[in-house]
């Protein structure tokens, strides 16, 4: 891949890069800076034999590495999280959630889990790509995604509990 092809590919994948950066960074300026640093490093580092199909994963790997280097001093914190089984009674209310409430719930997740969830559920990356980006094993990636969803589930249900909203009781057919 030539420098010109690499440059074109970076521009094509810019939205995905910026989306992840925005979900990680504290504000839009920090997100833009992270994207720019990723692109600069990619222009220097991405080897010539890297195929176009793996370029996006390579770019995201660089971004996650840069973010970890600057913001996460002690691992990804996955081992510290234990999620108990979550009740399901308020899940039916999720369709009433505003986008801001959902975003706030996502922001409460640890960075590594948030990033994994964004890439898996929003961008649709398969497990194999996530293992490459985050440097986790496949079972660890599965656990990370399951944990992230359970945590988000708990945060969202807690929100409904705090504002005192309950699902309407089921209407049973009367004989």
């Amino acid at each position: 891949m030539t420098q010109t092809e690499l440059a074109a590919a970076i521009v094509v994948h810019l939205d995905a890069l910026h989306n992840l950066a925005a979900w990680l960074a504290r504000d839009s300026a920090a997100a833009a800076a992270l994207v720019q640093a990723t692109c600069r490093q990619a222009m220097r580092m991405i080897p010539q034999e890297r195929s176009r199909t793996h370029l996006q994963v390579g770019l995201l790997t660089i971004m996650w590495g840069l973010y970890r280097q600057d913001h996460m001093r002690s691992g990804d914190g996955l081992s510290d999280i234990a999620v108990e089984h979550v009740a399901t009674d308020k899940r039916v209310l999720y369709h009433t959630l505003s986008r801001a409430e959902l975003d706030a719930g996502l922001r409460q997740l640890p960075e590594a889990l948030r990033a994994a969830l964004i890439l898996a559920d929003m961008e649709g990356y398969p497990l194999e790509d996530l293992t490459a980006i985050f440097g986790w094993s496949k079972p660890r990636t599965q656990i990370a995604l399951a944990t992230a969803r359970q945590l988000l589930d708990r945060f969202l249900q807690a929100r409904f509990t705090s504002i005192g909203v309950s699902p309407e009781p089921e209407v049973k057919d009367t004989p």
Binding site: I10, L17, H18, A32, D121, P126, D153
Partner: protein
């Protein structure tokens, strides 16, 4: 299918990446395991929420423009440099030429150092004598025997040298003998006499030099003699052979003065 095997396939099921056979087998397990079904249901709800409802942050136009500018800048600087290097190392004729230049650049200094011709003996002896002359001027006045007694110098030479230097000139009123001492030149013993003419110091070396070829060029004609002459900066050197002995004068005298000194030493 066990619960663990089922959980391994959740991700693929959520994103429609399961083969029909795996999908059928997983659905069979889910119909029999309410806990896995609940887990998958919860994961599916969350995944759908994120996919459809969470904010997607597209790259703003100013960032896109900024990245494009950066990419163009990289292409103009590093890109061109890289392309040039890439071309250099991947085009066979250019690669061959570059490699040849590199090999020559590395080999030539080594060739000159190890394989190249050694400097001729006359040049070597002139070089050594000039360095000795420089050392003498730095350490002036020199130490040695009493110049008023050439016989003592001769005795010293007889005791220390393994040859008899044929010295006929021991100085006069104009060209005073300052010192005489045995020394080494080209790793062979040599007799050295120091003369002073006005303020100019001259040294005469006499040593076994029958094996030293005197170059045929750069000869100075002095009254029918033709000693080899070398000049560097303000130093003049005359080198000649008499039988098995070589004579060498290093001096800062003018050419006529040096000619006079030469004739006095050369003529019996």
């Amino acid at each position: 299918m066990t619960c663990d095997e089922a959980r391994e396939r959740f991700e693929d099921l959520l994103h429609d990446r399961l083969s029909p056979a795996d999908s059928q087998s997983l659905r069979q397990h889910l119909s029999e395991c309410p806990r896995c079904l609940e887990e998958l249901d919860a994961a599916g709800v969350i995944a759908a929420l994120i996919r459809h409802r969470a904010s997607y942050h597209r790259a703003p136009d100013h960032l896109r423009q900024s990245i494009l500018r950066e990419v163009r800048r990289q292409q103009t600087l590093a890109g061109r440099l890289y392309q040039a290097l890439h071309t250099l190392w991947t085009t066979p004729p250019v690669l061959c030429a570059t490699t040849a230049i590199l090999v020559l650049a590395l080999a030539l200094p080594l060739y000159h150092r190890w394989v190249g011709p050694a400097p001729d003996p006359a040049a070597r002896v002139v070089g050594e004598a000039r360095r000795d002359y420089d050392r003498l001027l730095l350490n002036y006045p020199p130490h040695g025997t009493n110049p008023a007694e050439p016989t003592q110098i001769q005795q010293w030479f007889q005791q220390t040298l393994n040859f008899s230097p044929a010295i006929h000139f021991w100085g006069n009123q104009e060209i005073r003998l300052l010192r005489g001492y045995p020394t080494y030149l080209m790793e062979r013993r040599a007799a050295c006499l120091i003369f002073k003419t006005g303020d100019a110091i001259s040294t005469l070396y006499i040593f076994p030099g029958g094996d030293i070829p005197i170059p045929p060029h750069n000869r100075r004609q002095i009254n029918g003699y033709a000693p080899y002459q070398a000049t560097a900066h303000d130093q003049r050197v005359l080198l000649w052979r008499q039988g098995e002995l070589a004579f060498l004068i290093v001096s800062r005298l003018t050419n006529p003065e040096l000619d006079q000194l030469f004739l006095r030493i050369r003529n019996p």
